[in-house]
């Protein structure tokens, strides 16, 4: 099948997968015979939806990184930590492995996710000199690794519950936590609503060699 110059797609045969149960449906049926879900070959509005969610997430990334995410009180001294300064503090405490885990989960992953999805969405609308295989591999990685950002929020919730001794030792979440939670939610949604089949259509009509 790979020897053909234009590989056959489901759309040209009038077939499509049901979005819910992956049953092979005929497009003229309108609804999936197995689960009743409406079927359509491509969800063309998904690019807009995905952009909207992604841009919101990108805006929220600023408060999430600039405002403090935890407030620590230790023997009367109050210390406010942003995501980055908290990780920096861990490096100074010689907890490098933990710092690397937290850096990956809370800084690297959200930023790569937003950047990667933006690249992917741009590639659907415009011709970019990146192979579709690379973009798709990136998308799979983004989908899989995105949830690991929750790590930081879990750690905050555990420490906030354990350390509550008033002036002696106290840990509380701070405003960036909400923004960070929303960044995770919105980027996950942006990846979920996107119909990835659009990428393979658009580039194909212009460029068959990829």
């Amino acid at each position: 099948m790979s020897k053909l110059s234009r590989p056959p797609q489901g759309e040209t045969l009038g077939l499509t997968n049901c979005p819910t149960c992956k049953y092979l449906c005929h497009l003229e049926q309108g609804n999936c015979p197995r689960c009743g879900q409406a079927v359509q070959s491509r969800d063309r509005t998904s690019v807009q939806k995905s952009w909207a969610l992604l841009i919101t997430a990108a805006i929220l990334l600023f408060p999430a990184n600039l405002y403090p995410i935890t407030i620590m009180t230790s023997q009367g001294q109050v210390r406010q930590d942003t995501i980055f300064s908290g990780i920096n503090h861990l490096v100074h405490l010689d907890l490098l492995p933990i710092a690397i885990i937290l850096f990956t989960a809370s800084i690297l992953v959200p930023m790569l996710k937003i950047f990667g999805l933006a690249l992917y969405l741009t590639a659907i609308s415009y011709r970019l000199p990146i192979s579709k295989k690379t973009l798709m591999a990136g998308f799979h990685i983004i989908e899989w690794i995105g949830r690991w950002s929750m790590l930081d929020l879990f750690v905050i919730s555990i420490t906030a519950a354990l350390i509550n001794m008033g002036q002696i030792w106290d840990a509380k979440p701070a405003p960036a936590a909400t923004a960070f939670a929303l960044v995770i939610l919105l980027t996950q949604l942006a990846a979920k609503v996107l119909d990835t089949r659009l990428l393979w259509d658009r580039l194909e009509s212009k460029d068959d060699t990829n």
């Binding site: 295989k133 798709m136 919730s157 909400t178």
Partner: protein, 220 residues
Amino acid sequence: MTLDDRKRPRTDMKTEVLDKSIVLCRACDLVVRKRALPTGVRALCPRCHTNLYDTPYCSVNGMLALCITALVLYFPANFFPVLEMHFLGSIRTTTIAGGAMAVASQGYWVVGIAVLVAAVIAPGLLIVSILTQVLIVKYRLRVPFFRNIYKKLLKQHSLLAQLSMLEIYMISIFVSVFQLSDYTDLYFGIGTFCFTMLFIMVIFMQREYDIEHMWSVLDE
């Protein structure tokens, strides 16, 4: 099946045969010819390397056993503290939900809900949902009422699976322990043990579970 056949417009034999022998890639819509696979092998899309299908490895009895074990472990894992801290003679403990409440009570209810959903509610619903599905498949699939429930549960499955983040919570416990162990003594309790076992059970449960296979049960 009779109802479905009536709904379907008349198609000639050729397309009917085609339907059974091909699969469409869900990520790029490529038409791929289906072929039998040996166990433990997964078919990838030749164009974009997305998972297409694997051999159904979905034993109903095995899943039933895992579900019941997970359900039994779920309650101690959530009601006993996952971490215990001794500091200057005072003892602090927390359950998973306690952590979520501690954050929510400070006014960060978005974070609190996120923690509660990802680590308590979604895993619980996932276990109950799979248990119900398995029981229906085993005993009551022919009854239309249960058939409808089965369909509804299958539709929600991917959302629940995505929302449940036990593995991440597991790592978070370790991260917190490493962060705090410089200052205080931390102890694991029966809750930590149950949570770890719950996490392992859910991992195996999700490995065993195959959504496409569960859907295909309806066709038989």
